[in-house]
Point group: C2
Chain length 291, copies 2
């Protein structure tokens, strides 16, 4: 198939912006130029790549082409930087998927030293689902619970985040005065991140409690989740990296759960991506549990 | 149309869980019982209410029925509480949509005193899009930028959040040594929340700068957004309620933008919903700009 860089760029920009108009603005061309390039790319590949909804949706075939488009863009940007540093001023944009708790704790300080030269397009997803964004070609790298490599990706073990059931002392005294008894756990309010967060449910099941029994508060932002536990909304599974010093008590010595995280990235010799991987891996060695 | 409470509950639970299996677990019945109730509800309404995808998707007709189901559930739970407080132990679940910055700042402390009696199912959305969740019947109330009432809802003005362009002093010295000149703004990295966040783009346009020009970092979590600005990833529009004391400098005296927020809720005499509204309105009077 004949590759046309302008067509791939139009496709990439349309997926990024979500609309043809947005892509046109980003690339400084008319929406009709974007539309023509998309049609030509679909003709060249013989596939429908995008559903023209708002926002556009990438088809199964479109995922392969999106990944190709982004790989080519990254390699081209890296080459531009090497050949003529003065033209390479515009940073390469790296789409990366992170689980919410990693983004809220150890990843941003690791990326900060590179933020003047690279542009980070961070996507927030549950650690069980970041790998899907990699598979769909939406991101170049991901912090993920998945140890099996996504096709075309390499995997490195980062280490573990240890979650423990915690609450304020006042909450524990009110709702769990005799400790984590099943009858009390079935009534004590729980703070859950979102519908995909199974950590609290897993702990309840391990103690013989139906996770549908207690009242649930859903607080779908990492820092706000900790705030809700601190404010006494309920108990929750709190990672060591986010424990507010001295404010919470551990409810159950035997209740810790280790979530092991991996770094997956496209197999691609890109100096930009390699620098990010080096920074993330070094931070993980310091900040995550290595045993 | 003949209302069947068990059918409405099955429909509500399926949308909440995303799958028929999840709804079956939540209601302690078999998946086939859920499936039969959904079919009966669709037969009774003469409409397809759900696309059986994973997760299920609510159709246009389904949105009206979802809203009805949740209104009935709230009224029934309120009535149970009044008639027999001892059976009313199980808290009413209130789905509420919040913009990320409100969730990260003033709303959780306002809701905390009610968290032992009510269960909060918080949804995080851009303030321009929380009203859509209300329209779809997914939430009973929303903090939203929309001043026009969603059909069937009441609106109360909450007050304003004032956003100002800010960065670290080191960032300003490196990237904007002569202040907010268009040429410098076109090169200085910007921290943007997500693709729906137009605050930074709006400021750039007001200064005659193409928002497509500077490098963008996307950091889609409210507390993490502030962290990224503090770590020097870029400049960003920071609300007064989230300013880390003394750490950031204001880049432009004339750059403030006020986002006016409103509380919209179903018109429904529900003591539970009224208590939440009272708590939110009282906190807004204290924490938001009232002028």
């Amino acid at each position: 198939m004949d590759l046309d860089l302008a067509q791939l760029r139009a496709f990439d920009a349309t997926v990024t912006a979500g609309t043809l108009d947005g892509a046109a603005r980003a690339l400084h061309v008319t929406p009709s130029a974007i539309s023509q390039r998309l049609k030509a790319l679909e003709a060249a590949t013989g596939r429908v790549l995008l559903v023209r909804s708002k926002p556009v949706q990438v088809t199964g075939s479109g995922q392969s082409v999106l990944r190709l488009a982004r790989q080519v863009a990254l390699l081209a940007a890296d080459a531009t930087r090497e050949l003529s540093p003065e033209d390479g001023d515009r940073p390469v944009t790296l789409p990366i998927a992170l689980n919410a708790d990693s983004m809220a704790t150890w990843v941003l300080p690791a990326l900060a030293p590179l933020a003047g030269e690279l542009a980070f397009d961070l996507h927030r997803e549950d650690q069980e689902h970041t790998a899907a964004l990699l598979r769909e070609g939406r991101v170049m790298a991901a912090v993920t619970a998945a140890a099996d490599p996504v096709p075309g990706c390499s995997v490195t073990r980062l280490g573990g985040m240890r979650y423990r059931p915690m609450a304020t002392a006042a909450f524990a005294a009110r709702w769990l005065p005799d400790g984590v008894q099943p009858a009390a756990l079935a009534r004590a309010p729980v703070v859950v991140f979102d519908r995909r967060d199974d950590l609290q449910h897993g702990y309840l099941r391990s103690r013989g409690v139906d996770p549908a029994a207690p009242p649930l508060h859903h607080v779908p932002a990492s820092a706000d989740y900790i705030t809700a536990v601190r404010l006494g909304f309920g108990w929750g599974m709190v990672p060591r990296q986010q424990e507010p010093p001295g404010e919470l008590v551990e409810l159950d010595d035997g209740g810790a759960v280790d979530v092991v995280l991996h770094w997956q990235q496209w197999r691609l010799r890109s100096p930009s991506l390699d620098r990010v991987a080096d920074a993330v891996l070094a931070a993980a060695r310091r900040e995550l549990d290595q045993h």
